[in-house]
Amino acid sequence: MTNSPLKNKGPQDIGGDPAGPIDTTDHGMTHWQRQANAFRSVTTMNKIVITDELRRAAEELGSQYGQMQYFEITTSAIKTVLLEKKLFTEEELQQKMIQIRARFNVPDESLSPLKKTPLK
C-alpha cells in the first residue's frame, strides 16, 4: 500500500494490494455477528440509513479500519450515522449500554472497559 500512486486511497481500497494466502474455510458467525448483520440489514430495509452512508462512515475510520473486525466496522458505522441523524443521543446510547452490560453479568469487572473509561 505504501507504493500506491493514489493519494486519496482509503483504507477499504485494497483491491490489487499484495496479500497472503486465503483461508478458504468459512468460519461462520457468532450470535452477536448474526444480530449485527440483521440489525444492519433492517436499518437499511426500514430506510433509516442507506448503504452509502454506512460505507462513508466505515471508510472514515482510517487507520483503525484494518485493525477492526468486519462487524465491529459495520456497528461503528451505524452508530456514527444514527448519532448524526439524531435518532438517539450519545448519552442515551451509553445508558443503554450500561443496562445491557449489567444483564450479561460480566464476572470480572476489570475486563470491562466501561468500568475504567466512561465513554463520552
Binding site: W32, A38, T43, N46, R55, Y70, S76
Partner: protein
C-alpha cells in the same frame, strides 16, 4: 482522520487480545480469536444490542423484526441462488431473462434483491467468472446468505483481482490455461451471480436435485459444480 469515541481498546488488555495484532490483520475474520459467544461480550456487541433496543423503543424498528431477519438469513437466503440457477439450467427462456435483468428474473421466483441491479454472468468452456467486492463485502445476500469469512477477508479482496488463477487454485479449482477468467467487482448498487456450466451427467435431473450441486462457492465462482457424490 475521524476518531470515534469508541476507540477505547487498550493494547495489552487480554479481553481485547485480537486488537493487539496489528500485524495480523490479514486474519481479521478468522475464528476463533474473534469468537465472543463463549466469553464476555465485547463492546461492539453491547453497542449493537443497545442501538437495536433504542430504535425499537422509539418505533423505528418493530419488535421481532431483527429476529425475523436473522432467521431469513439462516434459513432462506442461502438456498435461493441455487434455486434460481437450477431454474436457469432447465429453462432456457428463464436463463435468458436472468441474463437480461437479474433482478426481474429473481422477482419471478419471489426474491426481492437488496441492490438495484443483479448481473448474472454465465460460465462457458472459454470463460470463467469470479465475484469479489474489493471495497467491502457487497454480495447478493438475499440469494446466497451471508458472505463466507474468506469473501470478506483482506487476502481474497486484494488478490483475486490480479491473480485469480492462483486464488482459484487455493480453492482447489484448476482451470485450463486457455480459459479466460473474468473477475467482477461488486458494489453497493450492483451485485453479481455466476451461472456455472451444467455438468455432463445431470441430464434429466430435477431442479431440486440440480440445486444440490450448486453450492455457494460455485455461484461466487471459486469452485465449479461436480456430480461426484450425487
Amino acid at each position: 482522520m475521524k476518531k470515534t469515541s469508541f476507540d477505547i481498546h487498550a493494547p495489552g488488555n487480554a479481553h481485547h487480545d485480537h486488537h493487539d495484532h496489528v500485524h495480523d490483520h490479514d486474519h481479521d475474520e478468522h475464528a476463533p480469536v474473534n469468537e465472543h459467544d463463549n466469553g464476555p461480550p465485547n463492546d461492539y456487541e453491547i453497542m449493537s444490542r443497545a442501538m437495536q433496543e433504542l430504535l425499537e423503543e422509539k418505533g423505528y424498528i418493530k419488535p421481532g423484526q431483527i429476529a425475523k431477519r436473522m432467521e431469513e438469513f439462516d434459513e432462506q437466503f442461502p438456498f435461493r441462488g441455487a434455486q434460481v440457477v437450477a431454474r436457469a439450467w432447465v429453462d432456457p427462456a428463464f436463463k435468458a431473462r436472468l441474463l437480461a435483468d437479474g433482478r426481474a428474473a429473481c422477482l419471478e421466483l419471489g426474491t426481492i434483491l437488496e441492490a438495484e441491479r443483479l448481473i448474472a454472468v454465465e460460465n462457458t468452456p472459454d470463460v470463467h467468472n469470479v465475484i469479489v467486492c474489493t471495497l467491502c463485502s457487497c454480495y447478493p445476500r438475499s440469494l446466497l446468505g451471508m458472505p463466507p469469512s474468506w469473501y470478506k477477508s483482506r487476502n481474497y479482496r486484494s488478490r483475486v483481482v490480479f491473480e485469480p488463477r492462483a486464488v482459484l487454485k487455493e480453492f482447489g479449482t484448476a482451470l485450463a490455461e486457455d480459459v479466460t477468467i473474468r473477475v467482477h467487482d461488486s458494489n453497493a448498487d450492483m451485485r453479481y451471480l455466476v451461472i456455472p456450466m451444467r455438468p455432463h451427467g445431470t441430464e434429466g435431473w430435477s431442479e431440486e436435485k440440480l440445486s444440490q450441486i450448486l453450492s455457494r462457492d460455485t455461484l461466487v465462482g471459486v469452485t465449479v459444480p461436480s456430480i461426484t457424490n450425487h
